[in-house]
Amino acid sequence: MTKTLLATTCLALMGLAQTASADTLRLLTWGGYAPDDVIEMFEAETGHTVEVTKSNNEEMIAKLRATGGGGFDLVQPSQDRVMGPQMEFGIYKPIDITKLDQSQFIPSMLLATMANTTVGGEVYGVPHVWGTSGLVMNTAMAGDTVKDYTDLCDPAVAGKVSYRLKRPTLIGFAFAMGEDPFAAYDDEAKYKEIMSKVEAKLTECKPNVKTYWGGGDELMNLVRSGEVTASMAWDTGGWKLNEDNADITFVAPASGALGWIDTFVLPAKGQADDAAYAWINFVMQPEVAAKITAAAGNFTASAGADEFAEDALKAKYQASFSQEAIDNIKWYPPVPAGLEAIEGDVLDRVQAAN
């Protein structure tokens, strides 16, 4: 009995202590960014193996923070979440751009992301997938009422709307109310003022909301069943639902959709940098990038991948975004430290309000 216990403990400890060998790429990413067929092609071509963990921005940073940047070899946070966490916790390591095939990236996007993820003269991130968030709605039922985020509070759609209680909602509402929160990023007092206006609006709007959605699937169910007719959501969600019901689609709000870029970042204690660089170079090839676009529903920063993308998705994209709407996309700048505390208090108070 004792021996068995001991043996089991030892085995368990050995299991814990065992580290990944150098050619295993532990990828921390979003759902759809590493489809199985792409992984198979990569493994066949390079001999590396890939372990995928799916997550979101907040959890990625929390996981890396807990281990001081260990446990993974390549991570994909959004570009606005690279600079702040790096300054605060030092969880990433600089990326060596020369090891990447830069010609595979859309030049303007590469430069913008590099600029947004530079800390102390070192570049930490390169772009991968980009998209927007805006309004997903049943145009037949809510199309006349809802043109912008604040229209979600209109009595005509009472009890039929949903949004997330997270920072994109605060930012979106601020823009819709005629403010410019991004311009106030460096001015804490001004930002607080904007956020308190948004808080008042969201509190007032609360009876109109059916529920605050948490995950993408939850929202899809709400919209598909018709329980929710208009919601703040990602573009891909709207386009996926559009396949089932032609009335449902993604609409860029009048005040502008919010644009995000998910990046490639090396965690500080990553152990397979070569495999990580190989993966980035591999998935940025236009044909492979098109496969990821098909799986994730979002376009990538890969130059020339558009040619390989499905026509149906391109058509949906063009239906949702006129040239004017594209020019009006508000790209997230890096989040300065301290702002999220202000936002957090606002979100807590809105959630608790009656």
């Binding site: 216990l5 001991l6 403990t9 929390a62 966490p85 059916k210 069943s225 329980e227 108070r349 608790a352």
Partner: protein
């Protein structure tokens, strides 16, 4: 021989000590240290009690804290009220095969994970769900009824989730009650109510107390059910802890909340034992 016994004892104790030390004591000490520091600037921290002050003065946090405590006590009480007759029937009225079958029926929902059970309730209660459709079909409602995202829905979920943990200790203690004692109660002129009050409940007290403690702890620490069924008004204390740790990256405040929850549950369990005049030893042993 004595040396052997001692080595055996140490070896047997090691896993327990490792378990408690590595997974409970050390993380808690670390949490305490985290909760007692304040972020000054990038990577610079100072020891302070700011977060405890903030947690104890901000009305929002206090409200959520008490709301979670009161709702958990309520959930425990409702669970007890429902589980007691069920347990009594299984332990005393049902015999042989039926007894086993009934006990199994209580157990079966726990074969699937909590997530699946909660989703089950969502399918039943949602606006386009089963109950809503049934009501419309029967003519009792003329439009879809939304039953999700309320405190009542959350309470249903909490009670359902913790039912088994009340039934099992109750069945065990009630089974040990000799039928002849109940019979003697009636022979001595007692009626159903007085026999219940004077004989059955006092006998079942250890089961009631341990069941209540477990159910209360489970409800207080539940994350899934309040988040999924409670919807937009469900601020639960565990959700606030998760938010502080994961979403806000504010580990200090999250750790403070964690400690507040630990103290709260300890105080309420202690109060429950005092109220029923029992010691922890009696209840657990």
């Amino acid at each position: 021989m004595r040396l052997h016994a001692r080595i055996g004892f140490i070896l047997l104790l090691t896993p327990l000590v490792l378990w408690l030390g590595l997974l409970i004591v050390i993380p808690h000490i670390d949490m305490l240290l985290i909760s007692l520091r304040e972020r000054i600037s990038f990577g610079v921290y100072e020891t302070s009690t700011t977060h405890y002050q903030k947690a104890l003065t901000e009305p929002l946090y206090l409200r959520t804290f008490w709301r979670t405590a009161v709702m958990s006590v309520l959930a425990t009480a409702i669970t007890l009220l429902i589980a007691f007759p069920v347990a009594y029937y299984i332990a005393k009225m049902a015999k042989g095969r039926l007894q086993q079958v009934l006990f199994m029926l209580c157990l079966i929902p726990f074969y699937v994970s909590e997530l699946v059970r909660t989703f089950g309730w969502m399918i039943l209660l949602r606006e386009t769900g089963l109950i809503s459709n049934l009501l419309q079909w029967a003519g009792l409602a003329d439009q879809p009824v939304e039953m999700l995202y309320t405190d009542a829905a959350m309470m249903v979920g909490l009670v359902y989730t913790s039912m088994l943990f009340m039934v099992v200790p109750l069945v065990t203690t009630l089974e040990s009650l000799d039928d002849s004692v109940v019979e003697a109660g009636y022979d001595l002129g007692g009626n159903g109510l007085s026999v219940l009050r004077e004989i059955i409940i006092p006998h079942a007290m250890p089961g009631i107390v341990s069941g209540c403690i477990v159910v209360f702890m489970l409800s207080l620490g539940n994350y899934l059910t309040p988040t999924m069924l409670g919807g937009k008004d469900s601020l639960w204390f565990t959700e606030m802890i998760y938010n502080q740790f994961i979403v806000r990256s504010n580990w200090e405040l999250g750790a403070t909340f964690g400690f507040m929850l630990l103290v709260l549950s300890s105080v309420i369990v202690w109060g429950m034992l005092r109220l029923t005049g029992r010691t922890l030893q009696e209840t657990m042993g």
